[in-house]
């Protein structure tokens, strides 16, 4: 079991390296010159050359790659071409905002989606079920940015309840972004919970539990739901993964200075250290989440654990 975990962790490292390499190659095609960007109207060719040289912009790709990766192991993420200060500063300043939106949104989504999903499954075909399913259908068909815009219009501009954008208004600024994400992803949780619950409810062991005389609540929560946990973990993991990518959209619409907008700005300025660092962190987080999901999956499901007792594994997806 531990072998599995260690093996998975170790594999992440070469994967990260490949990701960094891919991004580096893609971004290297950009024709934007960071020295000119920084020096602006001050930019004489000599000065530009000097600036770029000092920041390692003219290093060939492999050198850039090795330097970047090597520095990470030393704990240094490099100096931003544009801000001329350690990349870490800007990332740390903006990372908390992205995290806040992502996690709060996720929690709201789970709080709405999971109980409703259970309810819908238990009372299948009832009015609640139909409304819930219909709503979740709709929510999956509207893109996140569209929902953000609609909610912004209704709750900020018409009802004037919350600020439309920016983060200067304390906790109120976060209501709309987190609520948008929460409502949007609750649909996913609702559908998954509902379908897995439906499946497990039909299983024999649930019938057995009922036959044994356990109350309905116990049956639902102790038996059925527990078994639905497994796919739920997977869904949580994948949703978190999608959120990391989608955070750019929320940050753009609600003007939140987070990691997503940082990537966009850094890309437009060809600020390679910043881009690499930000994407490394995002990809790394993503991989870690997937890893945790896989591990929990293995831990929770005794069948998989049993498989690992045997020598050869043949994982079927």
């Amino acid at each position: 079991m531990n072998k599995f975990i260690i093996k998975r962790i170790l594999i992440c490292i070469p994967m990260m390296l490949v990701v960094i390499a891919i991004i580096l190659v893609l971004v290297s095609f950009s024709k934007v010159d960071p020295g000119k960007m920084k020096l602006g109207t001050d930019a004489t060719p000599e000065k530009v050359y000097e600036y770029n040289e000092a920041h390692g912009f003219y290093d060939p790709l492999p050198v850039k790659f090795v330097k970047f990766v090597g520095n990470i192991f030393k704990g240094d993420f490099g100096i931003s071409y544009y801000y001329d200060r350690p990349v870490w500063n800007d990332i740390m300043q903006r990372w908390p905002h992205s995290l806040r939106v992502t996690f709060l949104g996720l929690i709201i989504a789970m709080t709405i989606g999971i109980p409703l999903g259970v309810l819908a499954a238990v009372k299948q075909y009832s009015l609640i079920d139909r409304i819930a399913t219909t709503l979740s259908m709709f929510l999956s068909a509207i893109p996140v940015f569209a929902m953000s815009v609609i909610l912004m219009y209704i709750f900020s501009y018409r009802l004037k309840l919350v600020p439309a954008s920016g983060i200067k208004n304390g906790w109120k600024s976060w209501v709309l972004p987190c609520a948008t994400l929460g409502i949007f992803y609750s649909a996913r949780f609702l559908r998954f919970t509902r379908s897995t619950m439906l499946e497990t409810i039909r299983q024999d062991y649930v019938q057995t539990a009922r036959a044994k005389g356990s109350s309905e609540t116990v049956v639902i929560w102790k038996h059925a739901f527990r078994n639905a946990l497994l796919p739920l973990i997977t869904v949580t993991g994948t949703t978190l993964g999608t959120l990391i990518g989608g955070v750019v959209v929320i940050e753009t619409v609600f003007v939140i200075p987070g990691l997503g907008t940082l990537v966009v700005e850094a890309l437009s300025r060809n600020d390679i250290p910043l881009v690499l660092a930000a994407i490394t962190i995002l990809a790394f987080t993503f991989l870690m989440i997937m890893l945790v999901v896989d591990i929990m999956y293995a831990v929770v499901d005794p069948r998989i654990r049993a498989k690992y007792r045997s020598t050869n594994r043949k994982k079927r997806k």
């Binding site: 893609l26 399913t133 998954f192 959209v249």
Partner: protein
């Protein structure tokens, strides 16, 4: 109540294609909802094809001062956008780009994934493991960031969006195909075909692929809806279609600065996007149910 039989239970019978597919079609027709969705999708496709007939493209790009931010009226049923262009014309012509992006990216993904997934599942072994690893790496870069990185390097344009989106989806699609193929590869009649001396290539093309068509079709449909939404999102962020070409996500981005004053610019694209995605999703669900009625009742 499964009337049809899948190749699983009756091995050795070749040329199963016509049977199951016709069964599927019959089942699909019985589903009223599916028919409504198909009708809606058909209407959308008609709009895409006959956009020029419905309203000239000129209206979508000609700026009229009087039309600037105009609310819906009898003459201009969707009103005017921020630059005085007829919003109805823009939304209608925008459907071309939006649907082209969505369908196009999915088609690319399907082709790659089908070939890759079948071959890899069939061949198995080391190649299988390596390819799967590579695909895992690609998914660890979020789609939007991948699209942004490609745009940074190669500029803004429709091909760039197509490539980013199709690449990002290849991994999951390939997995699905691979799983489906794995189910079939072990079958006896494949062994039999090999024994007769059919080349691997023929086996893949003639036996494996036709039998997984059902799964591919369902996955394709689900993927199209997702891709239409993703491409709309990327257009919203500024990638994809160039000025002045309309696209649903782009129209919404153009309307966002004026949101304080009026909502009509963003409402109409949203209606279209939602209807499209919803119909395709529902159709995909119905298709899946039609292919395997045992799965009915699941979300």
């Amino acid at each position: 109540m499964t009337k049809s039989t899948t190749s699983k239970t009756v091995p050795g019978k070749r040329k199963k294609q016509s049977g199951p597919l016709q069964e599927v079609w019959k089942r699909l027709k019985k589903n009223k909802l599916a028919l409504v969705c198909m009708a809606i999708i058909a209407i959308l496709l008609l709009i895409v094809i006959f956009a020029d007939v419905i309203v000239p493209y000129e209206n979508a790009i000609t700026q009229v001062v009087a039309l600037k931010m105009a609310p819906p009226s009898a003459e201009h049923i969707f009103g005017g956008d921020g630059l005085g262009r007829d919003l109805f014309a823009r939304v209608i012509h925008g459907s071309r780009v939006s649907l082209f992006l969505g369908f196009g990216a999915t088609t690319i993904t399907t082709i790659i994934a089908t070939l890759l997934g079948s071959v890899v599942a069939y061949v198995g072994g080391k190649a299988d493991a390596i390819v799967m690893r590579i695909l895992d790496i690609i998914i660890s870069i979020p789609t939007i960031l991948l699209a942004l990185a490609i745009a940074a390097g190669f500029g803004i344009g429709i091909p760039q969006v197509l490539i980013s989106v199709s690449l990002a989806q290849v991994a999951s699609f390939t997995r699905v195909v691979r799983a489906a193929v794995l189910n079939i590869v072990d079958l006896e009649y494949i062994e039999a075909s090999r024994a007769i001396g059919l080349s691997d290539f023929s086996i893949v093309m003639q036996h494996i692929i036709p039998n997984v068509i059902g799964i591919i079709l369902v996955q394709f449909t689900m993927q199209v809806a997702e891709n239409v939404l993703m491409c709309a999102t990327l257009s919203f962020l500024g990638l994809g279609a160039r000025i002045p070409t309309p696209e649903w996500g782009k129209i919404m981005a153009e309307g966002l600065p004026f949101l304080r004053y009026s909502v009509h610019i963003v409402i109409f694209p949203i209606i279209f996007i939602t209807t499209t995605a919803l119909s395709i999703n529902l159709l995909g669900d119905a298709l899946r149910d039609a292919f395997d009625p045992r799965l009915k009742g699941r979300a």
